[in-house]
């Protein structure tokens, strides 16, 4: 352990500098706003998890004995809406990105602190709309809101849900805008672009997608609301419109949105792998530019969601090839993480366990994506559980693993406390096992032809479904344990000290928790990121 230098008088940090509720709700401090977001996304994660639990409970038997079909439709719709728009999209950027970006670039705050606070309130307003939908009876369109079902036939609260997502989208735009300007203009003296931590590069790429993609879903939902609410039609053939146009507009955002979820997670994993291998990430520039490449190509692949939706075969071929191309920068990252660990002094800590999990699960999720982006295969697999398993491997196995890894990695910085090592490792392993037991059987189910979004299924699928439901309960346990010990650590955890992991990152050079202005004096950067010095390599735990 690094022994902390003797402190004469404990200086105030961002947590105890003020303690009233008002000081939290009106704060401009990016660290406090990150904490506000953490509380909010954790709440919505629990809500979305509840719906997932109900879905798995219903699917434990082939008959529809827990809920009726219309209730089941609402369950998977609300699960999707809450998890995608209220948890996955804001999770890493708005929590960890908010907290860490200014620290990593040696700034006092993000470029627009007031906009940052506004984005949280906008997000909460969107969340309130969706909570209203939940409490008054839900919506049954699927999170994709396909027309004309959503605009002319659905009995759910489509308008309120659409407005909620519309509003929450603006918080995402504000966060992305803030990050872009912050990275461009707030870097500490000497911190050139190629000295930036790769976490920052990943967030830069994410922000590009947020800024360019989110307005498109916003205008699409605006048109949806006009059509449903005022019969000013754009998509329903009854008004002369074309429902496939809706699908194009929807996926123009919603496919890149997948990269909003996974890119920040990749940034987290890069930091973790480097720190716990005590090695500079292998191929820094390749990792940096692969983030940008994923963001750019991510915008050109939406058509692979429309292979069976009257899109021309020629267009399908182009989208298929472009979808394959996204695999290249993704694979570069996976190769570079493993190459970073190769001959590094690897320490198996809790964050590292999550990073291992991420690399394995993301690889499975990514490779099964290639099955789906080949047109012939997709005709067989489309709208089956294979698709469900694929995107859960990327979003849960990828994005949430990265989120949990990041929370465990930076928890000592955010709170100044260490969590219990044994429990955290056990829960990381439970999450990994529970996850695979939940979702691997779904690949098999989908391959055998079980369609998604049905609450009854033929009896021959029951064994695999029971395995999946059992896995879900293990996974839930794996999520519950960190929730308990992280709370516990706030009061009883050991003091972490400024740099418990021995990382050269700028965020670890200030005290934990950081002071309100992040650094006592603005740091001057004189070397590349990830310059490990011998004495910084220490064993923890």
């Amino acid at each position: 352990m690094i022994t902390a230098p003797p402190i004469v008088e404990k200086p105030k940090n961002y947590l105890n500098v003020q303690s009233t509720l008002k000081s939290w709700l009106l704060t401009y401090d990016h660290k406090r706003i990150g904490i506000l977001y953490l509380i909010a996304v954790t709440f919505f994660f629990a809500v979305g998890g509840f719906f997932a639990a109900m879905i798995r409970l219903e699917l434990a038997t082939p008959a529809g004995d827990l809920v009726e079909s219309n209730v089941y439709n609402k369950l998977f719709t609300m699960h999707g809406i809450v998890m995608v728009f209220l948890f996955l999209i804001p999770s890493i950027p708005a929590v960890l990105g908010n907290f860490l970006l200014p620290l990593m670039i040696g700034a006092k705050d993000v470029a627009f602190p007031r906009l940052n606070l506004l984005s949280w309130y906008v997000y909460m307003t969107g969340g309130l709309f969706i909570t209203y939908v939940l409490l008054t009876g839900g919506v049954d369109t699927g999170w994709t809101f396909y027309t004309p079902f959503s605009t002319s036939y659905s009995n759910g609260y489509v308008i309120a849900a659409g407005l909620g997502i519309f509003i929450a989208g603006f918080s995402s735009i504000l966060t992305g805008l803030n990050f872009i300007v912050t990275i461009h203009r707030m870097r500490a003296p000497g911190l050139t672009w190629f000295r930036l931590p790769l976490f920052v590069w990943a967030h830069y790429a994410t922000s590009m997608i947020q800024v360019l993609g989110t307005p498109v879903i916003a205008v699409t939902l605006f048109l949806l609301v006009l059509e449903r609410g005022f019969h000013i039609g754009f998509f329903d053939p009854a008004y002369g419109g074309d429902p496939v146009l809706f699908q194009h507009l929807f996926w123009f955002y919603s496919h890149p949105a997948v990269y909003i979820m996974i890119l920040p997670s990749m940034g987290v994993v890069t930091e973790i792998v480097s720190t716990f291998s005590s090695k500079k990430p292998y191929g820094y520039t390749f990792i940096a530019f692969s983030s940008i490449a994923i963001a750019v190509f991510g915008f050109l692949v939406w058509g692979h969601h429309l292979f069976v939706a009257s899109q021309s075969v020629y267009a399908g071929m182009v989208f298929s090839i472009l979808s394959y191309i996204v695999a290249i920068p993704s694979a570069i990252k996976v190769f570079n993480w493993t190459a970073t660990m190769y001959k590094g002094s690897v320490r198996v800590t809790t964050p590292m366990l999550y990073a291992f999990g991420f690399i394995g699960l993301f690889t499975v999720g990514g490779l099964t994506g290639l099955f789906l982006s080949s047109m012939g295969m997709d005709v067989h697999l489309t709208d089956t559980y294979f698709v469900v398993a694929h995107f859960h491997y990327v979003m849960v196995g990828g994005a949430i693993m990265g989120f949990l890894g990041g929370i465990h990695y930076w928890w000592p910085k955010m709170t100044g406390k260490m969590y219990p090592d044994g429990w955290s490792k056990i829960s990381a392993i439970i999450v990994f096992l529970g996850f695979n037991l939940t979702f691997f059987p779904q690949f098999l189910l989908g391959y055998m032809g079980m369609p998604r979004r049905y609450h009854v299924y033929p009896a021959e699928f029951q064994v695999l479904n029971v395995l999946s439901s059992a896995g879900a309960s293990i996974l839930a346990l794996g999520y519950l344990i960190p929730f308990i010990y992280l709370f516990w650590s706030l009061k009883y955890g050991e003091d972490a000290g400024p740099n418990p992991w021995g990382s050269p990152g700028l965020e670890w050079q200030t005290s934990s928790p950081p002071p309100p202005d992040n650094f006592e004096v603005t740091p001057v950067v004189t070397e590349e990121a990830y310059t490990y010095k011998k004495q910084e390599v220490v064993q923890v735990g």
């Binding site: 700034a107 006092k108 705050d109 470029a111 627009f112 602190p113 735009i173 805008l177 803030n178 872009i180 300007v181 461009h184 203009r185 707030m186 800024v211 360019l212 993609g213 989110t214 307005p215 498109v216 916003a218 205008v219 699409t220 605006f222 048109l223 006009l226 005022f230 019969h231 000013i232 039609g233 754009f234 008004y239 002369g240 419109g241 074309d242 146009l245 507009l249 202005d517 603005t522």
Partner: protein, 219 residues
């Protein structure tokens, strides 16, 4: 932060960094706006490509004279806005306030004319819905699409004008109090960018909605 001037927020090193940050922020915001309107423009191009005859005959229902008048009004308001930015940079407070008020009046005139046009459409049953009736139109089944896009696009544009209207009032009050001078007038400059952007959107909307097939034989 005693050493900082009032206009400088404490997390910036100096005024130049603050101004740079705000300017980049505004440009990125305008980028999001382009994408926002982009969805509607895409829908327009798809449907006009599919149903050219319906679009041409429905477009002839719009009032060319009023549309052209409003275009002129809006371009003039862009001129007064540009002059306002210049006056702010030169520190001419009274002229700044005058040009901002002129911009406000021209913007108001545009919105007033737009409201008249909407009313006219309402009277003639040209709002899509149960009472829609496009008298004498070709391919009448697809003409509601044109008017849906007309109201969607001009409505979104008008709502941007309304937001600009509110921001202008705030700017005028601040300018009157002497908040802007050669040293610091970023808000005026950035609002100018926003206002010109909203104008440019209209420059595209006008030909797309009002000027289709005007040269042909009257139908």
């Amino acid at each position: 932060m005693a050493s900082h001037s009032l206009a400088l927020q404490h997390h910036f090193e100096d005024a130049e960094q603050q101004k740079d940050a705000s300017t980049i922020g505004m440009w990125v915001f305008l980028l999001t706006e382009i994408m926002f309107f982009g969805g509607l423009f895409l829908a327009y191009f798809v449907y006009r490509q599919e149903y050219p005859a319906a679009f041409a005959s429905a477009s002839n229902k719009t009032n060319l004279l009023i549309g052209a008048f409003n275009t002129t009004v809006l371009i003039c308001s862009s001129l007064t806005m540009a002059l306002a930015v210049r006056c702010a940079a030169l520190g001419k407070k009274n002229l700044l306030v005058l040009f901002l008020i002129l911009t406000l009046l021209l913007g108001g005139a545009f919105l007033g004319v737009k409201a008249y046009e909407y009313h006219d459409k309402y009277v003639h049953h040209e709002i899509p819905g149960a009472h829609f009736d496009c008298e004498g139109c070709i391919d009448a089944g697809h003409t509601p699409l044109f008017f849906a896009l007309y109201f969607g696009m001009t409505g979104l544009h008008a709502s941007h004008m309304l937001i600009g209207f509110v921001l202008l009032v705030i700017l005028i009050v601040r300018a009157q109090k002497g908040a802007f001078g050669p040293e610091y007038h970023t808000p005026v400059e950035l609002f100018g960018l926003y206002w010109h952007f909203v104008d440019i959107v209209w420059i595209f909307l006008f030909p797309l909605l009002y000027l289709i097939d005007r040269s042909g034989v009257p139908k």
